[in-house]
């Protein structure tokens, strides 16, 4: 691991350890969740099963469009800590992945073992949302990547159970291997029942963001 990668890991773990605070990558016991994301860096799908209220195991497939590399990994996620309040919830999740990365570009560098570690933290009320996540990805001969992102959200109204919940959000992400290392994405989140949909536009890299989560 390079010194810069170690620094990123240290920063991510530092935030984790200081218990500051994303989404809900672990569901209720016995629950399945489908998470699809598409942003300036990648398009991915994750299907996970929550073995317990604080641990899920899933299968992730991800296409890193810039490098034209695909990953297929097994991804466990652990809800390390949840804080409960009458008006808030805060979470710290640790995640990781192990699988195969395959170069799909003209360079045809073949496949290699890939692994990643990540931390996700969030704090949420009915009208405010703050989150942070970081991931370090090691792909052997296909290169290493790191990212971290913070998000702030505000709900203009509080919907009751089963109603449409709407959030205005702003995400700032940092990807060292991109020309525009830091980028800003305003987005809208729509949330109803077991389905969550997000649509945004990365104004730094002029690319759309489409995310979808469904629990069943």
């Amino acid at each position: 691991m390079t010194p810069s990668a170690l620094r990123i890991c240290a920063a991510a773990l530092g935030i984790f350890l200081s218990a500051s605070v994303v989404a809900r990558p672990v569901s209720y016991t016995g629950g399945w969740t489908l998470i699809q994301t598409a942003n300036r860096a990648s398009t991915s799908g994750l299907l996970h099963y929550s073995v317990s209220h604080n641990f899920s195991v899933g299968m992730r497939h991800e296409w890193q469009r810039d490098d034209d590399v695909t990953l297929t990994v097994i991804q466990p996620t652990w809800l390390a800590k949840r804080w409960f309040g009458h008006n808030y919830q805060a979470n710290v999740y640790l995640t990781g992945g192990l699988g195969t990365a395959t170069d799909r570009s003209a360079a045809n560098l073949g496949s290699d073992t890939t692994s990643f570690i990540g931390v996700m933290t969030d704090w949420e009320t009915r009208t405010l949302f703050v989150s942070y996540e970081a991931r370090f990805l090691e792909q052997g001969k296909l290169g290493n990547h790191s990212m971290h992102a913070a998000r702030f959200g505000w709900a203009p109204y509080t919907g009751d159970t089963g109603e449409l919940h709407t959030w205005l959000m702003l995400e700032v992400d940092h990807r060292k291997h991109f020309d525009n290392k830091t980028a800003v994405t305003p987005l809208l989140r729509f949330f109803k029942g077991a389905a969550l949909f997000e649509a945004g536009y990365n104004i730094t890299d002029s690319s759309p963001v489409i995310n979808f989560t469904y629990r069943f």
């Binding site: 569901s27 016991t29 390390a80 949840r82 808030y88 919830q89 159970t161 077991a194």
Partner: protein, 158 residues
């Protein structure tokens, strides 16, 4: 790869209380509105009166059962009302989780998660029982923590 695993292991080991997340789940007095008779604590009579007074006062303003068509029908069939104050209920995913977990139980004839009141309203089938401990365990499976449980008249806001 070895370095990654090493860092991850070190982080897991060094997180205070991480391994027993939610282990101490039910702060019976949290919110001050748990019906006192449901506790097994050994209080003096004077203390008991003071607590009961506080609880009675709290129950006066505690959220009552949320009535949906399904809940009203279950009550009409002789079901017993239960209101559970739930901590950390902030979004529809929370409601989905509790609906899935509690909805599987045969004892439960109707339920509704009220995000505004932050309560889980249950109706237990006539003749069936669902203990506080059962509710606590089910809430934990859903990923949440309970602050208080009210039954019968207290659940109806009485």
């Amino acid at each position: 790869m070895k370095k990654i695993l090493l860092i991850l292991s070190a982080a897991l080991i060094s997180v205070p209380g991480a391994a027993d997340d939610n282990a101490t789940m039910m702060p019976h007095h949290a919110g001050g509105d748990m019906a006192h008779g449901e506790m097994n604590h050994d209080h003096s009579a004077q203390h008991e009166h003071a607590i009961n007074d506080a609880n009675n006062s709290a129950m006066m303003s505690a959220p009552a059962l949320t009535k949906t068509d399904e809940i009203s029908a279950a009550l009409a069939n002789g079901g017993a009302p239960v209101v559970v104050d739930v901590l950390g209920v902030v979004c529809d995913f929370c409601a989905v989780a509790m609906n899935k977990i509690f909805g599987k139980r045969d004892e439960v004839s109707a339920l509704y998660v009220d995000l505004n009141k932050k309560t889980l309203s249950l109706v237990v089938h006539k003749g069936a029982s669902l203990s506080d401990q059962d509710i606590e365990i089910l809430a934990k499976k859903a990923g949440y923590r309970i602050a208080a449980i009210r039954r019968d008249a207290a659940a109806m806001g009485g």
